[in-house]
């Protein structure tokens, strides 16, 4: 039983990271109908910048250093997010649908190799400056770091929800996602709104990047790829374009994955081992989409030309 709870806890931590990244995908998709393939790499850049800021300033206490690293990472990521939209997506807004997909792939290749040029191909260990306390929950352990991750992720998601629901910017974003030309007629500057979407998504990515590298105490130029893929899967699982869906999908995917990794051996009598962990995410996704083709809580879009 305690193993079960332990897996649930691990899953929730992983899931809240997925959820933060998935929000970036889903916001962009909701507004532009575009898979921002480079988003995973933005997360990676966030992790790398944060890690190297922490490494560069060894003397400072963690309570100053971590927020500072986070701010630096967020600024870099937001700049990159803004630039990606400006350079790679905006000129192609009226182009055939697959053209921005290819530039997204191109940008993702560029960012990955840029990171490799700057930080090298090695794995970088995360400096052990974070609190390492352990707490007992129903016979399972949860570290202070894990608590921080879940709490911060929760706060970010709450904040984003408030931003979208309550503010002027949020209302403009909702209007743009519903119908860009009409939103424009109503006086919304949709270019600004789209830029804002990318910047907000990238800031969330920076936070997620720091979390994931702290959680696994490692960062690597290639880490964004699989993470981005999983987060995108989570966004689709929940219903892409839907904020609550991204959060639900992220958490669900995290829990399913860690339960799957923990129990797959027992379930199949040792035939399949925990290295099939990654398969779980995709099987669940395919299963869900067969029965609910627009995700768990995605709207059922009427078929139209």
């Amino acid at each position: 039983m305690d193993i079960f709870i332990q897996q649930i806890i691990n899953g929730l931590v992983l899931g809240s990271i997925y959820a933060l990244v998935a929000l970036g995908y889903t916001m962009v998709y909701g507004i532009m109908g575009l898979i921002n393939f480079a988003h995973g790499e933005v997360v990676m850049i966030g992790a790398m910048v944060a890690l190297f800021v922490i490494k560069a300033l060894p003397g400072l206490p963690a309570i100053v250093l971590v927020p500072l690293a986070l701010v630096c990472a967020a600024i870099v990521c937001m700049t990159i997010g803004f630039a990606i939209e400006r350079i790679a997506y905006r000129p192609l807004r009226r182009a055939p649908k697959l053209a921005p997909l290819i530039t997204a792939i191109g940008v993702s290749i560029i960012l990955q190799n840029l990171a490799m040029l700057i930080w090298g191909r090695n794995y970088h260990a995360f400096p052990p400056i974070l609190p390492s306390g352990e707490h007992d929950v129903f016979g399972a352990t949860i570290t202070s770091l894990q608590i921080v991750i879940i709490v911060v992720a929760g706060l970010m998601m709450g904040g984003l929800t408030l931003l979208i629901r309550r503010t002027r910017l949020g209302r403009a974003m909702r209007a743009t996602s519903e119908n860009p030309p009409i939103a424009q007629l109503m006086g919304v500057n949709i270019n600004q709104i789209i830029s804002a979407t990318f910047v907000i998504g990238s800031a969330l990515a920076a936070v997620a990047g720091l979390m994931v590298s702290a959680n696994y105490s490692i960062a690597h130029y290639y880490m964004g790829f699989m993470l981005g893929l999983k987060a995108f899967t989570a966004a689709v699982l929940g219903g892409i374009g839907n904020l609550a869906g991204a959060m639900l999908g992220g958490l669900l995917l995290g829990v399913i994955e860690s339960l799957g990794a923990g129990y797959i051996g027992d379930l199949t009598g040792g035939f399949l081992g925990s290295h099939y962990q990654d398969i779980f995410a995709f099987f669940v996704l395919i299963g869900v989409l067969i029965f609910r083709p627009s995700g768990l809580i995605g709207e059922r879009v009427a078929e139209r030309a």
Partner: protein, 369 residues
């Protein structure tokens, strides 16, 4: 008047034949030119370019004709390659001949395509993309892990010492002597791949203008209207998946025989993405464009590989940046630049080009009137 038309027609046919003969001669001597001027490494790249053309044309059926975004296409290539590897290597001690394996690979990959297609028929656009992507990953992960409890794929180590392609008593691994001319192995593979690529091009061209091809395009443009016109969209979409996949299976089998080694590494998501880039960058749905895309995207990274190091040496006197990272960086930049300047692809079909200029198919139709 009639005589004139007849004359010009005959003239056209004569130029067409002349052009075909010319292209044939160029294609026939091309490997010798490349081999002597650029060396064997580029000859290998040329062979790979032909394989990628086959793959890109296969994916073009799914993405270009039928408009179904498939991001796990490399799985079918993997099916073909692993089938060849298992049936013609010491791994199981089987050594079946190539003419038995390649068609079997096409059939098996086709079945895999139908299996993927069936549950995804209801999905649209990007949902389909992520599911196909997941399918590709599932296939790769299984190949990576099916070495226990029963060793089928030999896991991450892959399967090595696969039989080279051999027809009858002739093996392509050694230089061939045909009618007094000695053809080195890489050249022989080139001719074999060229023959199959031409076959696939021919099939693609004939499909494009067939009832099925038109049905695919109708589904791409508007699925509901296509259904209303009496097209059985379910079967036609499944057929697109099956046909596209079978091309991939053929290319995969050839790859395994050519390379002599397969491992899950060769079939990762990046490969699927590359083939997709070939199709879109070349000009979706336009066969000459897709061929161009396949050639370009095979050669470009290799060109950067060969030039990234020496160029730095020439300019700075030493290697400052990791050439491998620099090469992919330049490649990424090239992808973005090409799409920004030619959003409809390098060589789009005329209809698509007009469509893009005017915004919608309806305008194109008006223009035609």
């Amino acid at each position: 008047m009639a005589a004139l038309t007849f004359d010009s027609l005959r003239h056209d046919r004569r130029t067409a034949i002349a052009a075909a003969v010319g292209i044939g001669i160029v294609l026939a001597v091309f490997p010798f030119i490349v081999g002597t001027t650029l060396g064997n490494s580029w000859l290998r790249i040329l062979d790979f370019a032909l394989l990628y053309i086959m793959l890109a044309l296969g994916l073009n059926i799914v993405v270009g004709f039928a408009g179904l975004l498939d991001m796990g296409y490399i799985a079918f290539y993997a099916v073909g390659a692993y089938l060849y590897a298992l049936l013609a290597s010491p791994h199981f001690g089987l050594h079946l001949p190539v003419w038995a394996i390649i068609p079997l690979g096409a059939v098996l990959a086709g079945i895999a395509g139908a299996l993927l297609g069936a549950p995804t028929l209801r999905l649209r656009g990007d949902y389909l993309a992520i599911v196909t992507l997941g399918f590709g990953e599932i296939v790769r992960i299984f190949m990576n892990n099916l070495n226990a409890p029963i060793n089928i794929t030999n896991g991450p180590q892959g399967i090595s010492s696969i039989d080279p392609i051999h027809l009858g008593g002739i093996t392509l691994a050694k230089p061939l002597t045909v009618a007094g001319i000695t053809v080195p192995s890489l050249h022989a593979y080139y001719y074999l791949f060229l023959a199959l690529a031409l076959l696939i091009i021919f099939v693609s061209l004939r499909l494009e203008d067939s009832r099925i091809g038109r049905a695919w395009v109708a589904i791409r443009e508007d699925e509901i209207a296509a259904k209303a016109c009496g097209i059985n969209t379910r079967n036609i979409k499944l057929l697109a998946f099956t046909m596209g996949a079978s091309f991939g299976g053929v290319a995969g089998g050839l790859f395994a025989g050519f390379q002599g080694f397969v491992s899950p590494e060769s079939f990762n998501l990046m490969e699927s993405v590359m083939v997709l880039c070939m199709v879109v960058l070349g000009g979706m749905g336009h066969i000459p464009g897709v061929i161009l895309g396949g050639v370009m995207l095979t050669i470009l990274p290799e060109f950067f590989r060969h030039s990234a190091g020496p160029m730095q040496l020439a300019v700075f006197g030493k290697i400052i940046l990791d050439p491998e990272a620099l090469r992919m960086l330049l490649f990424g930049l090239a992808l973005v630049a090409v799409m920004l300047y030619r959003p409809a692809g390098l060589w789009p079909s005329t209809i698509r080009r007009r469509e893009f200029r005017n915004g919608s198919t309806a305008d194109v139709l008006k223009e035609g009137e």
